[in-house]
Symmetry: C2
Subunit: 257 residues, 2 copies
């Protein structure tokens, strides 16, 4: 018997990120915490896994706490696989990923290492939540998130989640003096990125690019994550990883393939 729930904590900004440190300290109040996080930033890593290369996973000592923490050379999805298969002696009761420095709302979820870790945990049958704050700054202020993250985590521990569902929680960046208006259960907004590659020339005279772009909001609904965030609500989207477009199956059966 374990009196406290076992909580796996990971992220995609790497083991030194303030967002992760904040998430660890919140989870410490709820359960027994094990941290397995990438040894370097993995933003935009999507659901990548390491097939063609080696993975290192080292127990590290962290000065300010007496908990198990591992730094892993793999992707966020690798971290979860490593945790479940090699490191933990029992299945965790909860996996939390983040707090991401930056948004994982709308189409960004596809590119998100934070959410891929949560989804990987969901694939393994572990209730999982990804947390993100719409502030890329390393010095982002996570204080106001604490009570909400704790409550959401406790509710997931209490209620569980349906098979194949994880939560994508995004917090808006608040203006000075403002507070969150509440929580909105939302759907993923339709949107994409209009890329603007920044073309440069390297010191050897060869052209290269940086990927940049502008976010294009293509949705008009007030039930979307983007709408919630733009109106100072915390957005919670239930996410699944059955990518089948069920609504199109019958139409497709009519095609002459």
């Amino acid at each position: 018997m374990h009196s406290k729930p076992l909580i796996l904590v990971t992220n995609d900004d790497g083991i030194t990120a303030p967002g992760l440190r904040n998430l660890i300290s919140i989870m410490d109040e709820i359960g027994e915490v094990v941290v397995i996080a990438p040894d370097s930033p993995q933003s935009g890593m999507g659901h990548a896994i390491t097939l063609d290369s080696t993975i290192y996973c080292d127990l590290i000592t962290n000065d300010d706490r007496n908990k198990e923490e591992y730094r892993c050379s793999g992707t966020p999805a690798d971290c979860v696989k490593m945790a479940v298969s090699e490191v933990l002696d029992r299945k965790p009761d909860l996996c939390v990923s983040g707090i991401n420095h930056g948004s994982n709302s709308s189409i960004n979820i596809l590119y998100s290492g934070t959410m891929s870790a949560a989804i990987e945990a969901g694939i393994e049958g572990i209730p999982a939540i990804g947390f993100s704050l719409l502030d890329f700054s390393w010095n982002a202020d996570f204080k106001k998130l604490k009570q909400h993250i704790k409550k959401i985590a406790l509710e997931v521990l209490k209620n569980g989640l349906p098979e194949g569902v994880v939560l994508n929680v995004n917090f808006p960046k608040l203006e000075e003096g403002k507070d969150f208006k509440g929580i909105r259960i939302s759907r993923q907004a339709r949107a994409n990125w209009k890329e603007e590659f920044d073309k440069r020339v390297n010191p050897q005279g060869k052209e290269y690019y940086w990927l940049t772009g502008k976010f294009k909001y293509l949705d008009e609904g007030e039930d979307t994550d983007i709408w919630a965030l733009e109106n100072d609500y915390i957005s919670v989207v239930p996410v699944h990883f059955d990518l089948t477009a069920h609504r199109f199956i019958n139409d497709l059966k009519e095609w002459k393939l």
Copy 2:
């Protein structure tokens, strides 16, 4: 006016892969082909994009054909973004990705660079198809796939695809003398991987891992991609990238968050 459709071809096994070369030769019979593919293998890359590093994209001359081909240092999703934003002078009429050497059925779609390229094209509003053959061999025999790939591509060019939907086409590996039984429109089977990390020691005495695992089929339906493939059918799954678990939204609204 362009008399022939413009077809973007990419993959995740890299620009030298036989699967890609076969796909190019099939598309040559249908339209004007531009190839932008990774300069190295990108299997398991999921929907990763290159944010923290530079991207090279070079026009290369290929001896056996007089077509535009680019090798790109980025991920499969980067290749599509680069094509749309920097290389092509008009929006392609079709994007095809593959032919992947290996399966992208069931949960493998999440880890798949091949399918992330198709999905990225879908996000850009381009009708897109990922093709995979359940044979990891570099010398896999793609001959029997040709007529089916051509037909599916022509049907997509003729009918288009609904907004937000792309196709995931997987071909079974046939035993000698057998032929495909036909095409089954399928749904993504429930499954996961039971990881088995292969732990080794490097020449410096440090432990490291290789990610390996066994596929666990968790579905009993006869309408799944796995069922189709195991019964020598070609599987076609319509795929979308709205990850919202719509069925759980109302339940979640009842939670005390």
